[in-house]
């Protein structure tokens, strides 16, 4: 439902009223921004020396390295999560109960447990002391489990979204179950799932920041180091958060483009979490 059915085309009095609202909103926004700027000024956060580090080439390099680590972790986790999701997603739609139920348990478990807890657990399991893996891998493992479980749901919904007639036609041609899945259902499901997959990348990217808690590298870890060295918490938080926002907006643009290109504008995006009880776990 587009917004403009909710109200008539405004008449002269309404237009005047809306003008008042517009001015009031602008004043409120200006007030918020002004207040923030004033606090920044009063507490000396706008001094050049607090921002200088973000213009120093060697530190910019450190930040870029952090960004690279973050992207690597997110990318690695998503690639592994796709494998994880594929295995358990197909497991969930399997005709064999002995495959379906364990897949269900694994997926539900990892969707209900906080990512940070998974990270801490894998840190204690694999990395603490002279453990075999670096904290970075613990982050990847935790993110793989969580995002893989979410993607399993996405895959399941995507496979179910392929019209039933496609499968029936394939069986009628004499294809076997594996053939139907690999050659008919999955290729079409991937097309439907692509936007959901890319938005899951954003989730993974945001969650890599939690790795700072187990001392894994990444942008948030860089923030910790810079703010400890220069005591410039406010500028550092603003700069690092902006980098996250820009990267995520680029990913969102990619998802929108993929939606238009491969799914079509009219088709609703695949809503995995929107089917009530069984699928009530979020994708934040």
């Amino acid at each position: 439902m587009s917004g403009n059915v909710l109200f008539d085309a405004p008449g002269p009095r309404t237009i005047a009223r809306h003008r008042v609202y517009t001015v009031l909103t602008l004043l409120a926004l200006a007030g918020i921004i002004g207040f923030f700027a004033w606090r920044l000024q009063v507490t000396g956060q706008l001094e050049y020396e607090k921002w200088e580090v973000f213009l120093t080439p060697s530190y910019v390099e450190v930040i870029l390295q952090g960004l690279l680590d973050t992207l690597q972790m997110a990318f690695g986790a998503i690639v592994l999560a796709i494998v994880f999701g594929l295995v358990f997603g197909i497991g969930k739609v399997s005709e064999h109960a002995w495959l379906r139920w364990p897949s269900w348990v694994v997926v539900e478990f990892f969707r209900a447990v906080p990512v940070l807890m998974l990270m801490i657990f894998s840190f204690y399991l694999f990395a603490i002391g002279n453990g075999p893996l670096s904290p970075m891998w613990c982050v990847i493992i935790a993110l793989t489990c969580y995002n893989g479980a979410v993607l399993a749901e996405v895959f399941r919904a995507g496979i179910n979204a392929v019209p039933r007639g496609q499968v029936e036609a394939a069986y009628a041609l004499g294809m076997r179950k594996t053939q139907v899945m690999v050659q008919i259902q999955l290729p079409q499901a991937v097309k439907i799932m692509l936007p959901a997959l890319i938005s899951q990348c954003i989730v993974a990217l945001k969650d890599t920041s939690l790795g700072a808690y187990i001392l894994a590298p990444g942008l948030t870890y860089v923030y910790d180091q810079i703010s400890q060295e220069f005591k410039n918490q406010v500028p550092a938080a603003l700069v690092i958060a902006s980098i996250y926002i820009v990267v995520n907006l680029l990913l969102t643009a990619l998802a929108t483009w993929a939606q238009k290109r491969y799914v079509g504008e009219k088709a609703a995006p695949l809503e995995v979490a929107a089917t009530g009880f069984d699928d009530g776990r979020g994708t934040l």
């Binding site: 209900a112 890599t208 920041s209 700072a212 776990r281 979020g282 934040l284």
Partner: protein
């Protein structure tokens, strides 16, 4: 197992803190999110844009960065929320950590709540609003009597997802001095490294129970509000 069951009151207390964070920031995010959503579907362009900007900023920032902003940057701006510790109501007072954590969680979650409400309003059939306008209801009336009651039904599943995610997101407060479930799990594991798997599973079970309670109550609501 031993490590948890011999300190079971600590385990319960930890999940009490988790629950407290969830309830306070859950209510806060519903209020703020509803307000933002009403700006986003309203007729004034600048309000729509302002709410959209809020959603873009807070949805694309990692929750940890918002926590950092509340815990590390706000004190630098002169707001450490220490004053709340002086307020005591009937022997209860909250820590500054709690206030900062709930603020961060509320700010973050309300962006998602806003989107959930907006998608709910958008899911109401166009003809409903047209009919409401046709019988002469004003914007506020058609919202209140026609659109919102229907949107409320459509909004339950996505809102549940958001609140379930909030339960799990309260774990981030562990990094900022809250002795909630995840932080307590870490402490338990530190003291009993050989029981780490059991400890993890028991704490995971706690989260699963909380998540299932929310999911189940939303399921009940959905069933109850379903149009026959």
């Amino acid at each position: 197992m031993e490590a948890v069951f011999s300190n079971f009151d600590e385990y319960l207390k930890a999940f009490g803190v988790t629950l407290g964070l969830f309830v306070v920031s859950g209510i806060g995010s519903l209020v703020l999110g509803l307000f933002l959503a009403s700006l986003r579907v309203g007729p004034v362009a600048i309000m729509r844009r302002a709410a959209a900007l809020y959603v873009i900023i807070f949805r694309n920032t990692p929750l940890l960065m918002i926590f950092i902003f509340m815990a590390a940057a706000m004190p630098k701006l002169g707001y450490n929320f220490k004053w709340v510790e002086d307020i005591e109501i009937a022997g209860w007072s909250v820590s500054a950590f709690f206030v900062r954590s709930t603020l961060a969680l509320t700010l973050y979650t309300s962006a998602f709540v806003c989107e959930a409400f907006r998608s709910g309003v958008n899911s109401v059939d166009l003809g409903q609003a047209e009919a409401a306008r046709a019988v002469g209801l004003t914007f506020a009336q058609s919202m209140r009597y026609v659109v919102l009651p229907q949107a409320l039904r459509a909004v339950v599943p996505p809102l549940t997802s958001v609140q379930v995610a909030l339960i799990k997101n309260t774990s981030v407060a562990a990094a900022f001095g809250m002795a909630e479930a995840t932080a307590t799990m870490r402490a338990f594991t530190n003291n009993n490294a050989d029981e780490r798997i059991q400890i993890f599973l028991l704490f995971a079970l706690g989260y699963i129970i909380l998540v299932e309670i929310v999911a189940l109550s939303s399921y009940v609501l959905e069933r109850k509000w379903k149009v026959a």
